[in-house]
Symmetry: C2
Subunit: 336 residues, 2 copies
């Protein structure tokens, strides 16, 4: 068989580290023989977790790291000072070519900063965005950027659109993905200064299938495949998805428990409801890739359980096989 897709996993990052991270890594190599995981973290802790599992040992490598970056630490300082942290060492494994990809449920700030300063940008990419998949009525859409570059410029958004299109086409199999810019009205003349400047650039970009503005109300309905916006707005969208979803489901649950009649009904609808609502959980989509770096950097939710870690590791295979970065290099260097 060919060479492994090698993934550096920060075993110490996230609310459920190291137990769920190690478990997810084990599940990934149990499920797929193409991937090799480099688990980075406290060696004793990792070994203790691994003791309970059976797995193909040639697909797992332990890389000791003595420090941990906490979520609350200022990212730039943490990256600079904690050279022997699991997060920094895992990023260096990508930087030096040992690994193809990096997965962490740890500090978002440190991953975003480290992705840029340690792994580095593809030549021509101005700002690498964080691009999670979000659920829609009949599938999902890619939200670029959801938090990496606040106060972005129009040229950045055009690159987001190109990179997002490459991702949706090659990873999600969406042909000719529809690109839309988040706006407060459908008309071209609406919007803030950034959107007004960006709109004509997207309209005239030959590499993408631009369908115009999208109002936030139409995002969950699935009216576009690649949703372009500045990071502040993207972050609000991502988090409000979670918030409104969570509150509504709580309300549905309370409503069902409010009378004897409805309790009986709840018992009957529960299995069907669980199935339908699963499609709308952000967690099922694994981590968010940071696009445009010399290697793949994936940030998963801080609260990730093993299934999310496993999915994040496995998505790295397709990213490499589909040569996403080579395609980004081509598109970005030709036009910019």
């Amino acid at each position: 068989m060919g060479e492994y897709v090698k993934v550096a996993v920060d075993a110490m990052g996230g609310d459920n580290a190291p137990a769920e991270i190690v478990k997810g890594a084990v599940e990934a190599i149990q499920e797929n023989s193409k991937v090799k995981v480099y688990l980075v973290g406290n060696e004793d802790a990792m070994k203790k977790e691994l003791a309970g599992y059976q797995y193909p040992e040639e697909q797992l490598m332990l890389v000791p790291a003595s420090e941990v970056i906490e979520t609350a630490e200022p990212p730039v300082m943490a990256i600079r000072k904690k050279k022997d942290s699991s997060l920094v060492k895992a990023l260096y494994l990508v930087k030096d070519g040992t690994c193809d990809a990096y997965v962490s449920a740890g500090s978002s700030g440190a991953t975003l900063v480290g992705g840029q300063v340690i792994v580095g940008r593809i030549k021509g990419v101005e700002r690498p965005p964080l691009a999670p998949l979000i659920p829609t009525e009949n599938g999902c859409a890619l939200l670029v950027d959801c938090g990496a570059n606040v106060d972005a410029r129009p040229s950045h958004l055009v690159q987001f659109a190109k990179m997002g299109s490459i991702y949706m086409e090659n990873i999600m199999g969406v042909r000719n993905p529809r690109v839309a810019i988040v706006n407060i009205g459908a008309e071209e003349e609406k919007g803030n200064a950034l959107v007004k400047e960006t709109f004509p650039l997207l309209k005239n970009c030959p590499d993408i299938h631009f369908i115009g503005s999208i109002e936030a109300r139409d995002i969950p309905a699935g009216m576009a495949d690649v949703i372009v916006c500045e990071a502040f707005v993207g972050n609000v969208i991502l988090k409000l998805y979670e918030g409104v979803g969570g509150t509504l489901i709580k309300k549905v649950r309370n409503g069902m428990m409010s009378s004897l009649r409805s309790k009986i009904g709840a018992f009957l609808v529960k299995p069907a409801l669980k199935e339908t609502l699963k499609d709308f959980e952000l967690e099922q989509y694994g981590g968010a890739p940071m696009l445009g770096l010399n290697g793949l950097v994936v940030k998963t939710h801080g609260s990730s359980k093993s299934v999310e870690i496993k999915n994040s590791i496995l998505q790295c295979i397709l990213f490499k096989e589909q040569k996403i970065n080579e395609k980004i290099k081509e598109k970005i260097s030709i036009q910019d």
Copy 2:
């Protein structure tokens, strides 16, 4: 009895005009003897609608207007050219002191522009925001600004916070309302340029109870009473509320209809569920006031039915009785 609260209602604005608007006006005067409605629009059409109702005639006045501003028309031009439109004539009734308030389900753009150029700002108010109530887990919160002033400056947001606090305290009865600024993290140093500049101004403002940043995920949970943000972000929040809510409820419904077992369950949970979910409908809160004008301007949803028109008319009573504008004048002129 004392003087009426006089409300100019644009009978021709909105998807369901004039039928639902006229019906809402009739219901308002049937329900409350303190209010007098000035219905502005095509006289024949209004009379035809009114023919079917019994109502206290001294509380209704018809004001003929020959033109209608359509939703798609560019607002500034429409306001300037259609002097005999129902929307413009209704605004002039507030401007010249005939009425205390204005209610329209018509063009948002024309209402926002007309509110500023016809009704005019309270002295000292830099930008009048549009401030709808949005549902939360246990009540509601005021979102300022949801669409009036894109690319706002920090001083504008401080005024939004003050005016929003006055509204929540006096109209909704929330003592010492908690004010938060929408941000992408809880820490003071996070955010875009606007938020970073605004944060210390809010922190040092003696007139409000500032509790810091709020992430979008915590808005539906009800973590603040007054949610301050720039209009682009506010518009995204308002519309994503609608979008995620609508899509999720559709998914719940589909889930319930997916098997015989769940259909029976659905029949049993339906009444209880309807009751709980009602709290989470944006429509029940009536229209959004535009704060800081010399008079009250209320914009209701384009799709408003009579109940929303009625609620929007009735909320004008409290606005006048609680002397909201006098309180705004006091707070704004002292500090700014």
